[in-house]
């Protein structure tokens, strides 16, 4: 067989089709039944939580949001509420929606393949795991007054002494931010020139800005944990 004919055969094999009934429908049916059974059995043995009647005069300590928002509540430790509760989720959502428009790599459509999409998959998985890691910390390792406890430690209800916090003075913070974002935008453009050119100017800037914001969050968290840094930028209207 010639190469061309072989390619033809391979191509036909790829798009080989089967009837939805019963090949697809049967599997969906089984999945639905299994899902129902698991739900009912689990619900039979594990009751849904129901605490005492709501009492505005008696705050829960710790008061926790539903688990899927605990990542955001967890970063309240490191950022002011307007960032943790509003700006961060907004950027995440806009960033998620932007993905198909900034990822111009045509490879890897329709299969699990890391080799063709190293950058995209690494960044996405990092963000996905970051989100869930924060949820795990918020769910299992935060006790009264949102103090940190390892899962095997018993919660104490003593109000913890807040650590002495320092803020970077603006003469240090502003240049640090400018250098971080400036170099962050420039260095990859030079080091990975082909990648940047493939993306084009606008896509490259959006991609790198989203990436730098995500990594910046991690850096700010590290600064807080290691050096008790409260803010890196202070203005009369808001602090970051």
């Amino acid at each position: 067989m010639s190469n061309h004919a072989e390619a033809q055969v391979a191509n036909n094999k790829k798009t080989e089709k089967v009837f939805s009934w019963p090949n697809l429908v049967a599997k969906e049916f089984i999945a639905a039944i299994l899902c129902t059974v698991i739900l009912l059995v689990y619900s039979y043995y594990v009751d849904a939580p129901l605490r005492e009647l709501a009492n505005p005069g008696e705050p829960e300590n710790p008061a926790k949001a539903p688990w899927y928002f605990l990542g955001l509540q967890e970063i309240l430790v490191y950022f002011d509420p307007w960032i943790a509760g509003v700006i961060v989720p907004s950027i995440i959502l806009v960033g998620l929606m932007a993905i198909p428009y900034i990822d111009v790599n045509p490879k890897g459509n329709g299969g699990y393949c890391f080799r063709d999409r190293r950058f995209a998959i690494t960044v996405f998985l990092f963000g996905f795991i970051f989100w869930y890691a924060l949820i795990v910390v918020g769910t299992y390792m935060r006790g009264p007054f949102w103090s940190f406890f390892w899962p095997w430690e018993t919660w104490s209800f003593d109000f913890p002494t807040p650590p002495p916090s320092v803020s970077l003075p603006n003469w240090l913070g502003i240049p640090a931010l400018l250098i971080y974002f400036g170099l962050g935008m420039l260095v990859p453009a030079v080091a990975f020139w082909k990648f940047a050119k493939q993306l084009g100017f606008i896509r490259y800037n959006i991609t790198m800005m989203l990436l730098l914001l995500m990594l910046g969050m991690l850096i700010k968290m590290a600064l807080r944990l290691m050096f008790n840094v409260k803010y890196v930028l202070q203005t009369p209207w808001f602090n970051i």
């Binding site: 969906e28 899902c35 594990v46 705050p59 509420p81």
Partner: protein, 256 residues
């Protein structure tokens, strides 16, 4: 035996039977195709799908499971609405009734709650699956955007349901959540630039969410209406678009 077969044949030849079931069930390609296209529920599917698409290890059934759990939540949710009244003086007592008095009420309420959590999990992992298989790439970009919106709506559906039991858990969780809303720049009374539009505690975004300056009867009613009517309608509309686009954008993603 012959009698039974004879009766079945007679039955399936009647006008009534034929008016309900349009085609036979003999295993022929024609009947397999008709089974999909002449059934209103099944014609969501194409008659034929690529072979790789029916592999469990390609989709993990995650999108379908998410939709199925949504249907499960709709059914159990409607049943719960027969017993639950969103009134601060009654809501908690209705929960206790569901747990101890209503036949199967405990299973109903508990499985509704766990199904809500399950849907958040399956929708997140559906997104991961779609990402890892590169299924958002052209021409499916816009369907990914719709998917992100549906992810948000799933969070909101679950979140609005959290307050309904009117217990300490829900009350203080909603307190945490809506207080973050108060910190919205410009539109929240505690956020930066709140003065720009003269935003105060009684006209900001948190006030709109709660129907007041604190969590009280209007907040419970708002959570209830959004949870049972508002968000399901919006999510349902987007789901129609989402599924329709899967078909129109060339069916399930596949190797190019």
């Amino acid at each position: 035996m012959n009698l039974i077969l004879f009766l079945i044949r007679k039955l399936t030849e009647t006008e009534v039977w034929k008016s309900v079931f349009r085609h036979g069930y003999t295993d022929t390609p024609r009947n397999r195709a008709l089974q999909t296209i002449s059934n209103v529920w099944l014609h969501l599917h194409p008659v034929k799908v690529p072979k790789h698409a029916v592999k469990i290890r390609y989709t993990w059934c995650l999108g379908g499971l998410t939709f199925f759990i949504f249907l499960y939540l709709t059914v159990t949710g409607v049943l719960l609405m027969f017993y639950y009244v969103p009134d601060v003086n009654r809501a908690y007592a209705d929960m206790i009734d569901l747990m101890y008095v209503v036949p199967l009420g405990r299973l109903l309420r508990t499985s509704h709650r766990w199904a809500g959590h399950a849907m958040v999990i399956t929708v997140c992992f559906h997104m991961l699956r779609v990402f890892l298989t590169g299924s958002y790439k052209a021409p499916r970009q816009f369907n990914w955007v719709l998917g992100v919106l549906l992810l948000v709506l799933t969070f909101l559906l679950s979140f609005t349901g959290y307050l309904l039991p009117w217990d300490q858990l829900g009350y203080w969780a909603i307190m945490v959540g809506t207080n973050m809303g108060a910190a919205t720049p410009v539109m929240g009374y505690q956020g930066p630039f709140a003065d720009l539009l003269g935003v105060k505690i009684n006209n900001d975004v948190r006030f709109a969410l709660l129907g007041g300056t604190q969590i009280d009867a209007p907040s419970l009613l708002r959570a209830y209406v959004w949870h049972c009517i508002g968000i399901p309608i919006i999510a349902g509309a987007l789901m129609i678009l989402h599924f329709w686009r899967v078909r129109k954008d060339g069916g399930i993603s596949g190797p190019l």
